[in-house]
């Protein structure tokens, strides 16, 4: 009875021992010496693997900054300054404060401004619709309204507004990872500086059609009249191809351009102006 128990114990014990020895040598032979900082940095990162930093994911960012030994040109838009400070502490380097960015929609072709001209019954995807024709609203540059941007947003910062038919960016949830910018077949979403005290001004139109044509298609279109460019005290606005563009590096969010725009194509997050004596409603 003793021997019948002893045999399997010995067999198992010896097998286990051989396994241990083999594993020991294998682990010595194939050991990868990884900088422990890579793991520490990775745990600090948001882990969304969104690619917003321009690298392949969070781990790639960690590896890249450990390899380079500095943080020049590396910025995690999702984690922001807080995370970058932590990474800098791990690496023992200084980091400049980044300027937080946010996605804005450069189209204001609401259902009222752009009535439906054609019926589209193909696949529910902006990319497909864009490839077929100009889209049911007739504008070759504007939002197609199928929500490809909403689908790709990993942070739930985009949603479709049923009333306007346009996507809405939630600036608090938006991490400026840039996935929506890539997904939009018409490049209507743009990453811009959040601006001082969250104040930013942008042209909510991308139409490069001639003014009269653009206006015929959409009541809210930029017609490239250039009034805003003349009004801007900081030379931040340029008009090219019948379309105004506000350079967010130069813009100081004074809001003067908004008042002169004849079509209301300039949007902002500025607080509403106090009514002046010359109110346009008279």
């Amino acid at each position: 009875m003793t021997s019948s128990l002893l045999t399997p114990v010995i067999i198992l014990g010896v097998t286990g021992l051989v396994g241990v020895v083999m594993l020991y040598f294998v682990s010595r032979r194939f050991r990868i010496n990884e900088d422990p900082r890579v793991g520490r940095i990775t745990t600090q990162l948001p882990g969304a693997n969104c690619g917003g930093c321009g690298l392949r994911g969070c781990r790639d960012l960690a590896e890249t900054c450990v390899k380079r030994g500095n943080l020049q040109g590396i910025y995690c838009p999702v984690g922001g300054d807080e995370v970058m400070q932590k990474i800098a502490a791990i690496l023992g380097v200084d980091v400049e404060a980044g300027r937080p960015m946010v996605a804005v929609l450069r189209c204001n072709g609401t259902c009222d401004a752009r009535p439906q001209r054609y019926e589209y019954d193909g696949a529910h995807s902006c990319a497909v619709m864009n490839a077929v024709a100009v889209g049911s609203r007739g504008c070759a540059f504007g939002c197609l309204g199928c929500g490809d941007c909403v689908d790709v947003c990993a942070f739930g910062a985009l949603s479709m507004d049923a009333a306007t038919g346009l996507p809405v960016v939630d600036p608090d949830a938006c991490t400026a990872c840039g996935q929506c910018v890539k997904a939009c077949p018409r490049h209507l979403l743009e990453l811009r500086y959040k601006g001082p005290r969250d104040r930013r001004v942008w042209v909510a139109c991308s139409s490069r059609d001639r003014g009269a044509v653009a206006r015929k298609i959409c009541a809210n279109a930029c017609i490239g009249c250039g009034k805003c460019a003349r009004e801007c005290p900081f030379d931040a606005i340029t008009v090219a191809d019948n379309l105004a563009y506000i350079d967010f590096e130069k813009c100081r969010s004074c809001g003067k351009c908004i008042a002169v725009c004849p079509t209301g194509a300039i949007h902002s997050t500025l607080p509403p102006r106090r009514p002046t004596t010359q109110s346009p409603t008279e």
Partner: protein, 443 residues
């Protein structure tokens, strides 16, 4: 009877205009000539606004080798050079020409004489008068592009690398798209001229033999070709079993020769070059009559007010060709399988337009897609041996590397998968998205 082996479908043929001859449509008073009517670099205008141009004059020259010039299709004055709206509603650069009364009358007389000449029986013309280089130059200068639909500059196809001359010229007369009959009508009317064009093409590219691939649903056209071809000539006819997409270049090469073109390859890899039958006619007109490509035969069909096969000047607006159509119809430029719907009927007919199909309001509606039931009928139907359900999913979920691995670039966009799908899923729509994304990534 021969056909290609993998996949294929049998959609209802609906060749409503099958027996109709080529009818000459009057020249319009105004044409819009897009600078890019072909694959490759857009042409560069060589006239100014206000210039007087005559019919057949070059108004935009080719920009490089893979490009094609554009010629005035009516005489008149250049009214504008600038953006116009194409059939999809996007803006494209074009030259606009307006005719006055006198120019219009002169054009009409000239055109009547030309058409009368084309229909007259002739002796066999000798192509030895031109060297291959001269022929290729004439074809290039005449703005000839593949008239089957893709509009690839013909001179590129007909200029083989030294030592790689194709042994076989395949003439594509399949016209496998439902509804379309323009090639059929052209062959029935002008078979001797087409034979001359084929000979010219053979000497341009150095091919020793030519085969006309034609589907068995065009018996009259086959008979016309038989009458026109001398049995002693190295041109033969291959009658093929009707199956879509037989007119696809790769499918046709396989159907005619039995050789399969490798993935990512060209017909030249198996010693063949494929050209459309209408292109052969255009080559005849360019080389033997000195007429550039300024008009083509298109099929107007479906619920159009007047159906037929019309000889139309390039640049004529779609609405001029169709006449008045109700607002709720869908106008498809091209055939029902590969054509695209037009949102702008003021857009011009281009060199690539093979037909205008008018679908009444009830005929066009797409069914609501249901979930994929894994029946694999799309796999069976795919003539390229791909897995459309997989490619489509890759396209929908933006999995571009996976799509590339599943050979999305081999897709010929024939639409057999979408046609056959019992769940009416928009398979091709997503595959096209994946294809263009992969192409962009590869650049």
């Amino acid at each position: 009877m021969k056909t290609f082996r993998i996949g294929g479908i049998h959609p209802p043929q609906n060749k409503l205009t099958a027996g109709m001859p080529v009818t000459v449509l009057d020249l319009p008073r105004r044409v819009q000539l897009p600078l890019q009517q072909h694959i490759g670099r857009p042409a560069v205008p060589c006239v100014k606004v206000g210039d007087t141009v005559v019919r057949g004059q070059m108004v935009a020259r080719a920009d490089g080798f893979v490009s094609a010039p554009v010629h005035a299709s009516i005489s008149g004055r250049v009214k504008a050079i600038g953006p116009i709206m194409n059939a999809a509603g996007y803006s494209i650069p074009a030259i606009e020409i307006e005719a006055d009364e006198e120019a219009h009358r002169a054009d009409d007389v000239m055109r009547k004489a030309q058409i009368e000449f084309d229909t007259r029986p002739t002796d066999r013309t000798l192509s030895e008068r031109h060297t291959p280089e001269e022929l290729r130059r004439i074809i290039a200068d005449s703005g000839i592009v593949g008239l089957g639909g893709a509009a690839f500059p013909s001179t590129v196809k007909l200029s083989p690398k030294a030592g790689h001359e194709p042994e076989l010229l395949i003439i594509n007369a399949c016209e496998c798209e439902p509804y379309l009959t323009c090639d059929d009508a052209l062959i029935r009317g002008y078979a001797p001229r087409i034979a001359e064009g084929i000979e010219l093409m053979m000497s341009a590219c150095g091919a020793r033999r030519a085969v006309i691939g034609i589907e068995d649903n065009k018996p009259e056209a086959i008979a016309a070709l038989r009458r026109a071809l001398d049995p002693a000539w190295p041109i033969s006819i291959a009658v093929l079993k009707t199956k879509y997409p037989q007119g696809g270049e790769k499918q046709l090469v396989e159907a005619v020769t039995g050789r399969r073109i490798p993935s990512g390859g060209l017909p030249s890899d198996v010693g063949a070059v494929v050209n459309n039958v209408a292109t052969a006619f255009a080559v005849y007109a360019a080389v033997l009559c000195g007429r550039p490509l300024i008009e083509r035969v298109i099929t107007v069909t479906g619920a159009a007010p007047v159906r037929g096969n019309f000889l139309v000047a390039v640049g004529t607006s779609i609405s001029d060709v169709l006449g008045s159509v109700p607002d709720d119809v869908k106008v498809v430029v091209g055939g029902p399988m590969m054509g695209s719907s037009a949102v702008n009927l003021q857009a011009p007919v281009t060199k690539a337009t093979s037909g205008l199909l008018v679908l009444a309001a009830g005929e066009t509606r797409r069914l609501t897609p249901d979930p994929c039931i894994r029946c694999a009928r799309c796999v069976e139907a795919c003539p390229m041996g791909l897995e459309p359900y997989l490619l489509s999913t890759c396209g929908r979920l933006r999995m571009w590397p996976e799509a590339a691995e599943a050979r999305v670039l081999d897709c010929i966009e024939c639409g057999s998968c979408s046609y056959i799908c019992p769940s009416s899923r928009p398979l091709l729509d997503y595959i096209r998205t994946a294809k263009s994304a992969v192409k962009t990534l590869n650049k």
